[in-house]
Symmetry: C2
Subunit: 303 residues, 2 copies
DNA sequence: ATCTTTGTATCAGAAAAATAATAGTTATGC
DNA sequence: GCATAACTATTATTTTTCTGATACAAAGAT
């Protein structure tokens, strides 16, 4: 036998009002009902939760502990009650979006404060994001990978190229002729000797680019591991070293001459970026606004 | 009319099992009962939460949102159900203790991992801590201030002196004769010219010490504001500058000669430190263990 | 096509819970 | 010290909720 969650609502009200009759009024139930709820809860727990002083219910030790344990989740459920009631007027929506950290920083960060709805950004791995999107834990994802869930649609909105960049102080006078002249193997050996930047989670870019263009797994370790790609770009700016990154993240630094684009690979490696949403999402308008922000940013920067 | 929290339990189970009959089995209620709960909830919300596909209840958009909204608090309440059931064997206790950050770092930090119970440390202001202790949000506080709550007991266990210290590189050859010779006003003027360290929340120490000894409010600002007193001590170590701190926090640095004790004031300012607990606490044994750790630390260091 | 399995909805009756009325208890005011 | 106010517990009755039985619907097996 399990307890009834309504007992907890009653318990909380008794704790807060201090009397059974006040509780009855607050919850719009009868005073004996309150008494019964409390007795059931105490019987279930196996100990008194209140000392019955004549004018006031005084919580016992156990009562205090129980109260503090249940208060927060109970409030959350009761707020759900408001939220999901038919008469509750449509309020500020809350949208959850999954994307990689860099994409967020690059596109959305500057607009967060001005959005007419609440926004929750979640970071994570793309396959997990797809599952979360399908389950309603996320409302949109920005991803280079399409999944195969029935209920999801993917809408391409841009492309990213994964490219080799270098800090502007890097000496590439030796490297460029090799790359342009098709001396790929010599270029590879040159690159192995250089300073490399990478991120913990993002060695994938380096590995894939290397394998695609040099037909081998990279057999050297990056010299600097930093938290994210934006950090790489800041570290490289007006500095020395190489890295493999998505091009859209470094347009500004490229334009400012702080870093230089070295090579796009023998055949450019291009990912399509998709908005992923549920077919029957109820946040269509809000998501369209978000998509517009992305598209504007891309138009502005990628000309 | 408000909704019944039991509906949520049922809703969650339907969401997770996918059918009403499986839910009925899981919750030990009848299948029509499940059907009824769901209908009530949907009527209350004003929209369908599941599409009735022949073999499976498929959550709608709203259903998914509701599920994600209530899942976590519901789990918490259900864990309370385990926890507060009479047959639940006494498990690892969880003790909440309030004290200032420095006291925690100084005494308990090194022992946390080896305690046979769970420990939650909360920081805050002493009057609020007293209220929280009385309400059962905390089980013990370590404080220099006694409150007047009926239900609380305060047990003195040590004293702290608030003293003037200086980094070992500080030149105090000019200052010491003034202090020893009773030239308090000249000492005061000398001190005003020096480098001072303080914490954001802890200007109280400086203010009180200054008022007590110099009969005026300090009319200068500290040069460095750092996050806590431990930082002050690390900053001063083998360095230059002054600060007002509780003596017990700097015994090690004093013994190592990294800082020096300059002055205890014309009449030493001494606080008694108390353990505050509720009279009828159910964690007597656990709290005694904690107290022992404190007392041992003090005995070891303050000889 | 037909049968079986798996599932949902409906209904009358059974069980449980909530209620109103009321009795009992203790502080407080006069 | 008694009347009153404020509150809780108990009881008989009403109301709500839950259940077993059963009808119905769709998918899969034969």
């Amino acid at each position: 036998m399990q307890w009834n969650l309504e007992w907890l609502r009653t318990f909380r009200a008794i704790y807060e009002t201090g009397t059974l009759s006040a509780t009855a009024k607050e919850l719009f139930i009868s005073q004996p009902g309150v008494s019964l709820h409390l007795n059931s809860l105490e019987a279930y727990a196996g100990y008194k939760l209140f000392d019955r002083s004549p004018r006031k219910m005084v919580p016992t030790e156990k009562g205090k502990i129980l109260y503090n344990f249940i208060l927060e989740p109970l409030q959350k459920l009761e707020s759900a009650e408001q939220h999901f009631h038919r008469r509750s007027q449509p309020e500020r929506a809350t949208i959850s979006v999954g994307m990689c950290f860099e994409t967020f920083q690059y596109t959305l960060e500057e607009h967060v404060a001005s959005l007419p709805f609440n926004l929750i950004i979640k970071f994570g791995l793309y396959p997990q994001m797809q599952v979360d999107l399908d389950n309603g834990l996320l409302d949109m994802i920005v991803t280079p990978q399409k999944g195969n869930q029935q209920n999801l649609v993917y809408e391409p909105f841009s492309k990213e190229r994964i490219v080799l960049i270098a800090g502007s102080k890097t000496d590439i006078s030796e490297l460029m002729p090799l790359l342009n002249g098709g001396d790929i193997l010599d270029a590879r050996d040159f690159l192995k000797q250089q300073l490399w930047y990478s991120t913990a989670g993002d060695m994938e870019h380096l590995k894939n680019f290397w394998s695609k263009n040099f037909n081998e797994h990279p057999d050297f370790s990056p010299n600097y591991i930093v938290p994210n790609i934006s950090s790489i770009i800041r570290c490289l700016s007006d500095n020395e070293g190489f890295s493999i990154v998505p091009d859209f993240l470094c347009h500004e630094a490229l334009d400012a001459g702080k870093i230089k684009l070295v090579w796009e690979g023998s055949k450019p490696w291009e990912n399509t970026l998709y908005f992923g949403t549920r077919k029957n999402t109820m946040y269509h308008n809000e998501l369209e606004q978000l998509k517009k922000l992305f598209e504007e940013k891309w138009e502005r920067e990628m000309v």
